[in-house]
């Protein structure tokens, strides 16, 4: 099983994703520089977290012009799985692979801490191995993770089951108190209509062994590994 992680200038979770996917989830992993003109043959593309282009202009806004993004978009359009984490999610929105936009957290502060998220359904390649009803204990670390979509878009992604993760309390209840950043409907992760592209703000690669407070991120990588087999 092969995964390609794309490093943009300013990405800083590429090595963390590499370690988690290779050492903990059993993927063969290659890092590709954003300037490369062609995408290696792969089963999965990961857009990692960080501050591509320093988050200048808008978060994720400048990375979408990277040469390799054209290839990633083509790969996604052909149904290839693309996982965007944190800044990767922001890039997916800016490049139009997913709907919506991000605003600053309502606290107007960067937030780094573990939160709980709940999978909305288990029919996705990203959630099939997550136990039903479980709330996953996974870290967030972002300043602009306040998901926004206009009413029509929101209605559509809710109806089509595109919302894959919501912030919840530890028992899986989706409450206002459990919403760390003001995201509409507690949205933490969404996929496209076909279900092959997922963007999520929480960092599953930061919850993959006992020294890291939680192993719950593994469930997502396991889902992928099994579904893509």
């Amino acid at each position: 099983m092969k995964a390609v992680i794309i490093t943009f200038p300013g990405s800083n979770c590429d090595q963390d994703c590499l370690w988690a996917l290779r050492e903990k989830a059993g993927f063969d992993v290659a890092l590709q520089w954003h300037r490369d003109s062609s995408l290696e043959k792969t089963d999965l593309v990961v857009l990692p977290g960080g501050f591509s282009y320093g988050d200048y202009l808008r978060t994720g806004a400048l990375a979408r012009f990277s040469p390799l993004m054209k290839e990633v978009i083509r790969f996604a359009q052909k149904g290839g799985p693309v996982l965007g984490i944190c800044n990767g999610f922001q890039i997916l929105l800016e490049s139009g692979l997913l709907p919506g936009a991000f605003l600053k957290n309502t606290t107007l502060r960067f937030i780094c801490r573990n939160v709980f998220i709940k999978a909305e359904h288990h029919d996705s390649i990203y959630t099939s191995a997550i136990s039903k009803g479980a709330a996953l204990d996974i870290p967030i670390a972002h300043y602009e993770g306040n998901y926004y979509a206009d009413t029509a878009t929101l209605k559509k992604i809710e109806e089509e089951g595109q919302v894959l993760f919501r912030y919840s309390d530890k028992d899986g209840n989706v409450t206002e108190k459990a919403n760390p950043n003001g995201s509409v409907n507690n949205i933490a992760g969404i996929c496209n209509e076909q279900g092959n592209v997922l963007g999520m703000m929480p960092h599953p690669e930061r919850a993959v062994d006992t020294y890291l407070h939680s192993c719950d991120g593994l469930a997502l990588f396991k889902s992928l590994y099994q579904s893509l087999k």
Binding site: P9, C13, D16, G50, F51, G54, F110, C112, P139
Partner: protein, 737 residues
């Protein structure tokens, strides 16, 4: 412009120094030369007030790979691995533009680490501010934390620890010190020492602008077209470029194409070029027309003195230029060859086909005359009132309630949750406890990192205070199960030309020296920040407390054995390892609750400290403890409360000390040294007590962990539910008001 003595004085040089410059050159310096001397001979670059005292600190040890003198120190941690670390201040810029001031401080300390060939793995910040009831102080704190968060998060180095102390002595002059720790294999460590005459010198990173040029108190026409106010002393940080130059530098070093590398920090191109040449006993020639420039029509003076951020200088091995070009291009950086090394030991600067400076390298880099200073014991030390039993005390419950609501003691969550403390996925013990602990993925090892300070103790008794800060940092490492290895330090003081301040400086160093020797934690580097004082409206000058900040690294051979500070099990016995006291001298209790400064500073016996620390480390290895927390400010009471709250569980404690206690409040809040609060499983108690006895370490039984969320001592009861919300929310609420 004609250089005269008057111009030299305006540059902050003394008459003697100006005379020395003229005799070195055998002529009147050019303006550019004068500028070069003025920054290189400033306190910041030359340590002319502190050098003789710093020389007394112990710098040697089995594990020291690199002591003071390079960009950062380095220690061996076995298996061919090393830690590289250093601390720096950014006090002044942060006081005028908190966001950018603090951000660029982080940028500077990161460069000190990666120019050594080490990958930065952790950042820490030590913050000393005035009380937060002042709106300006709150504005400054918010800006500083935001700036650190912005820069550190963006470059992808976790900020895993730090501290915040709030006392009004820092109101006009807050302290912002940042520490960085890096990881390297021995063979990757590179020096800033240049070698090989003829080797090309390259510049990369951001272009040079007119920012940060100080000493420039001239009429502006003489320096360029622009007005003084357009030449800001604070720069804007660019963490994005920093990340690129970090990756590029590490790749350049690994490729073997470099001879040496240095960042352009304080005193910019002047300092980096001359120091690199000096370390190698060489000369250097640079051509300013080749230096990338952001502003138009910059003079040679301006280019040499600019402190624009995120700029690097590297000496390449002749013949390997293509490797350098390829790596820099990959990281989207432009290689600019600006000069070469020479063997004439001269620092030559050309601009517009003219030589604008020609100075013997050694004289400019190392030749600053040491300043004559005298020390005088200040009167306040003798007249400071001391604690006695007549001082009125509150009940311990009321006292705790009030102290926990004070930012000095409240949870620092509002700060550290703004920092990405998890990136790189090595943070085992997160901020919010004692020292942070990072595992090293390539081995079983883990490292503890901490910064500690206590300006108040150092004010009451600088020598004792100096000892305590080192001991306290070591205790924080020990509590995590890590052996303290070495120290970096940032000495924040007032004006050293004032004999009373100089006395504080000298005494603090005396104390630090003894502690570093006895605890075997040599000093591998540091930074000095002087002139931290403010002038009040009435013209009274007030200095900050003498504030040494200790940054320490420790080593845990087996990460699986790491220890944490919070209680783990009901019914575990709670013990004090150390000697209790009822002396409240020097305590935050008196300072915050009674609003009184009363000595004496707590006693410390360094041999006792060492014995206790070694006992704790051995006992952790033998798995005798459920939890270990050091006792520091706020005494046993604060340590106990933190051990309870940090568990995240709704537990309490039943206190039944097996020693005599005259006054409970004094007993609980006395800031005893060389002690730890530990919890021990019932099945381990016997073993623990025997081992302590053998080691001749004093132990007092304090009570046990209970199911009921309250601290009870006979009829005295304090419920914890409210304590928790006070503790968690106090800082955020204070800052937000």
């Amino acid at each position: 412009m004609q250089v005269t003595e008057e111009v030299a004085l305006e540059h902050g040089l003394t008459k003697n120094e100006y005379a020395a410059i003229k005799s070195i050159l055998n002529r009147t310096p050019t303006l550019t030369e004068l500028g070069i001397f003025s920054v290189m001979w400033s306190e910041h670059c030359s340590y002319k007030h502190s050098r003789p005292l710093l020389a007394t600190l112990p710098v040697e040890g089995e594990r020291v790979l690199q002591g003071p003198g390079e960009n950062a120190g380095a220690v061996d941690i076995g298996e061919g691995l090393a830690l590289v670390f250093k601390i720096e201040s950014h006090n002044h810029p942060s006081a005028v533009e908190p966001f950018e001031g603090a951000a660029t401080g982080v940028g500077g300390i990161l460069r000190d680490i990666f120019t050594m060939g080490a990958r930065p793995i952790a950042l820490l910040d030590s913050l000393s501010f005035g009380e937060l009831d002042n709106p300006r102080t709150r504005y400054l704190l918010k800006g500083v934390v935001n700036g650190i968060s912005h820069y550190g998060n963006c470059v992808g180095v976790p900020t895993v620890g730090g501290e915040l102390q709030t006392m009004n002595k820092y109101k006009g002059n807050p302290l912002v010190n940042a520490m960085c720790v890096g990881f390297a294999r021995h063979e990757e460590i590179i020096s800033a020492r240049a070698s090989g005459p003829g080797n090309p010198v390259y510049y990369f990173g951001n272009p040079t602008g007119r920012d940060g040029i100080h000493g420039a108190t001239f009429a502006s026409e003489e320096l360029g077209e622009d007005k003084e106010e357009k030449r800001p002393s604070v720069q804007v940080g660019d963490p994005f470029t920093e990340k690129l130059i970090m990756e590029a530098s590490l790749e350049l070093i690994a490729s073997g194409c470099l001879v040496s590398i240095q960042d352009m920090g304080a005193a910019g191109l002047t300092c980096s070029a001359s120091e690199m040449a000096e370390k190698g006993g060489l000369g250097i020639t640079i051509d300013l027309d080749k230096v990338p420039q952001r502003a138009k029509n910059m003079t040679s003076y301006e280019i040499m003195l600019s402190e624009s951020q995120e700029r690097m200088l590297a000496v390449c091995q002749a013949g390997k230029e293509d490797v350098l070009h390829r790596i820099l291009k990959k990281w989207e950086l432009e290689p600019c060859k600006i000069g070469y090394l020479t063997d004439d030991k001269l620092f030559r600067v050309n601009h517009k086909s003219q030589e604008v400076a020609c100075i013997p390298v050694h004289d400019v880099a190392e030749g600053a005359p040491v300043c004559e200073v005298s020390a005088e014991k200040p009167a306040y030390v003798q007249t400071m009132p001391t604690y006695n039993e007549g001082v009125s005390l509150e009940s311990w419950q009321d006292a705790l309630q009030r102290l926990v609501a004070h930012p000095h003691f409240a949870s620092k969550r509002w700060i550290y949750e703004q920092y990405d403390y998890m990136v790189q996925t090595n943070t085992v013990v997160r901020p919010g406890q004692d020292a942070a602990l990072l595992r090293l993925k390539d081995s079983d090892k883990a490292v503890s990192v901490t910064t500690d300070t206590n300006g108040y103790y150092c004010y009451l008794d600088p020598e004792k205070g100096g000892k305590i800060v080192v001991a306290q940092a070591a205790r924080n490492c020990v509590a995590a199960g890590a052996q303290p290895l070495a120290v970096t330090n940032c000495l924040n003081f007032g004006n050293p030309e004032n004999p009373e301040i100089y006395w504080q400086f000298q005494e603090v160093i005396k104390g630090m020296r003894q502690a570093c020797q006895i605890l075997e934690t040599p000093v591998t580097g540091g930074n000095v920040s002087l002139y931290n004082e403010t002038r009040s409206a009435e013209g009274k000058v007030e200095a900050i407390y003498p504030t040494p900040v200790i940054g320490m690294v420790g080593l845990l051979e087996n990460v699986a054995r790491y220890m944490t500070a919070f209680f783990k099990k009901e019914n575990d016995g709670i013990y004090l390892v150390g000697k209790p006291s009822e002396n409240l001298g020097g305590s935050q209790y008196l300072k915050i609750l009674n609003g009184e400064e009363r000595g004496p500073c707590p006693e410390i016996d360094l041999q006792e400290e060492r014995k206790t620390q070694q006992f704790i480390l051995r006992a952790i290895r033998k798995e005798l403890f459920s939890s270990v927390h050091d006792v520091s400010e706020g005494g046993i009471m604060i340590a106990l409360l933190e051990s309870l709250l940090w568990s995240g569980k709704e537990w309490g404690a039943l206190l039944q000390p097996d020693c005599s206690v005259k006054n409970r409040t004094a007993f609980l809040f006395s800031e005893i040294q060389s002690s730890f609060l530990v919890s021990v499983g019932r099945d381990k108690e016997k073993d623990f007590l025997e081992q302590a006895d053998q080691a001749q370490v004093p132990v007092v039984y304090l009570g046990k962990v209970t199911e009921k969320p309250a601290i009870c001592w006979e009829d005295d009861i304090l419920h914890l539910a409210e304590m928790r919300s006070l503790y968690e929310k106090a800082l955020e609420n204070t800052v937000a008001q």
